[in-house]
Amino acid sequence: MESVLGRYRNLIILVGVLFLQVLGLAMQVKKTTNALQDTRLIRIWAVGAITPFERSLIWIENGSASLWHNYFYLRGVRAENRELKQQIEDMRLQQVRLQEDAAQAHRLQNLLAFKEQYVSKTVAAQVIGTSGSDMSRTVLIDKGEKAGIEPDMAVMTANGIVGKVLLVYPSAAEVLLINDQSSGVGAILDKSRLQGVLKGTVNGQVVLERVMSDETVNVGETVLTSGGDQIFPKGLPVGTVAKVERGKDLFLRIEIRPAASLSKLEEVLVLVQKQDRPATTEATTHVRAADILAQRLPSVPEKPADATATPAKSGEGSAKPTGATGTAAPKATTNAASHPVKTQSATASVGQDVPPKAATGTSTAAKPKAANTNGTAATPEGVVPKPVNNGTSVMKAEGAPGKSAISAQKPKAASAPGSTPTTQANPQPPAVDNNPH
């Protein structure tokens, strides 16, 4: 017996070690629900051993990159600055339109008593490592329990979603990317509103499953989160449709090109807090339907409620419209006081923090300087609109400084080239009363 053991000692030890590992694997596979949490302590050792080096290397890399970019690589910065300024202008114009759409959506949601999820708090984190295997598409970030990170929190970049937090360590966390096989995200196609489940594949692609094969899906269509997975709030960008083909079992196989560059992640945002609240325009004042009509019909001039409101060029509290088209009689209206609130709400919904631009015709993208201050109507009657270069109308509504949130910010006027003037005098529609008269 001893000779047999001695002769096959190596083999017996090999079998023993393999058996123990198989046993461990079997236990983990059996506990499918909490398997990751059960092995968390063991994983902490490996992560704890690796992350300090990764942090150091990232720190050195960032430091040297910062030195290079801030001191040595300043060529072309002015040109880039000009381009960026142009981009900001373009985006501001776009934002005016988005604010209008958002405000409208909020009103509709409010009417239907929808509940909305808001991204209320995020934590920025640096990607410091990967799993090192194409069988496990995860990344390590440098924020963990200490930064308030918890499992199942959504992770995203400015471009789109990245994945969800899988395991949390004291000062690091493991993020499961959306292109991992075990990942699943509720998604919706932006235009066709078809819903599906976003899954990763063996070779790291992202596909949208569970869309019936008789549906029409166009290449290039945007994919957003549907909110159905209770991890990602609704409406976050996921990517675009790259390829559509017939899949198994009457479903389409839709390949998605992720909006976030999953293979080159550097900084990410972890959504640590999201709020569920009823959709609301956050209106503070109730407006009568007649007032709304009065504002929207330019042919019905509104009587100034405040005698101090004077025509343009006369100073404070006036509205000074300028423009070639003269399609509307722009007004800095009585409900201007409620605009800051509404504008903030709309701004928050698109995730931007830009000074509100009140009271103009939306399509003309005219940017007024302010709303009326004391809640009184200032009707710019008798003022001759001044033409501007591109033929669009620009309106300025000036108010007393310091009395209004809008007037304090004083955004500059701008116009959208080629845009169509509308008769809508006020792009920020008034708050809709839930119980109209």
């Binding site: 190596n10 030890i13 461990g24 990751l36 051993a49 080096f53």
Partner: protein, 173 residues
């Protein structure tokens, strides 16, 4: 100049200092986790912990030491991912045992032999990983001979270079 023999009677057995024994596998794991941040395809084709396992196993020429080296490195690699712990562990245990057993019987000191041994063990490693992942863990796995051979060749080429540098840490017993 290390003297190697293929008879099995007078094989040169090497040992390594403790810092090298711990530091090199740790460094391999670290690089395996870090390099894909800058070169995403690295993780698809290269497996540094496997190369380190093969090197230590072949140099020590002790099957028990080889299998334990493979087991520890493999388990540590498992811990970095989210898959159940043990898949890489089993695969690298087999490779560690096999490489050290082979090291006892063959001259694995020259570049050509190292290239072929690494290529062979990469395929063995992939096959064991595939089997365990499919059969035990029920993971969706695809097998591609083309990818396996290409990755094997890439690892073998990298291995020959890596072993040359790691040879500097060898200490004769």
């Amino acid at each position: 100049m290390p003297i190697t023999y293929t008879s099995g009677e007078q094989v040169e057995v090497y040992r390594f200092s403790i810092p090298v024994t711990i530091g090199v596998p740790l460094l391999a794991l670290f690089l395996q986790a870090f390099i894909p941040l800058r070169f995403p395809r690295f993780a698809v084709y290269f497996d540094l912990p496997l190369l380190v396992t093969i090197f230590f196993a072949m140099a020590r020429r002790s099957p028990i030491a080889g299998l334990f080296t493979g087991a520890f490195i493999g388990l540590a690699q498992d811990m970095l991912g989210h898959n159940p712990i043990g898949i890489y562990g089993i695969a690298k245990t087999v490779v560690g045992y096999g490489a050290s057993s082979l090291g006892v019987k063959l001259d694995v000191e020259n570049a050509g032999a190292r290239f072929l041994v690494t290529l062979g063990f990469y395929l063995v490693h992939s096959a064991v990983y595939f089997t365990v992942a499919r059969a035990l863990v029920n993971m969706t796995q695809g097998w591609s001979w083309l990818h396996g051979i290409l990755a094997g060749l890439a690892n073998a080429a990298l291995g020959v270079i890596l072993y040359f540098f790691l040879d500097k840490f060898k200490q004769r017993t």
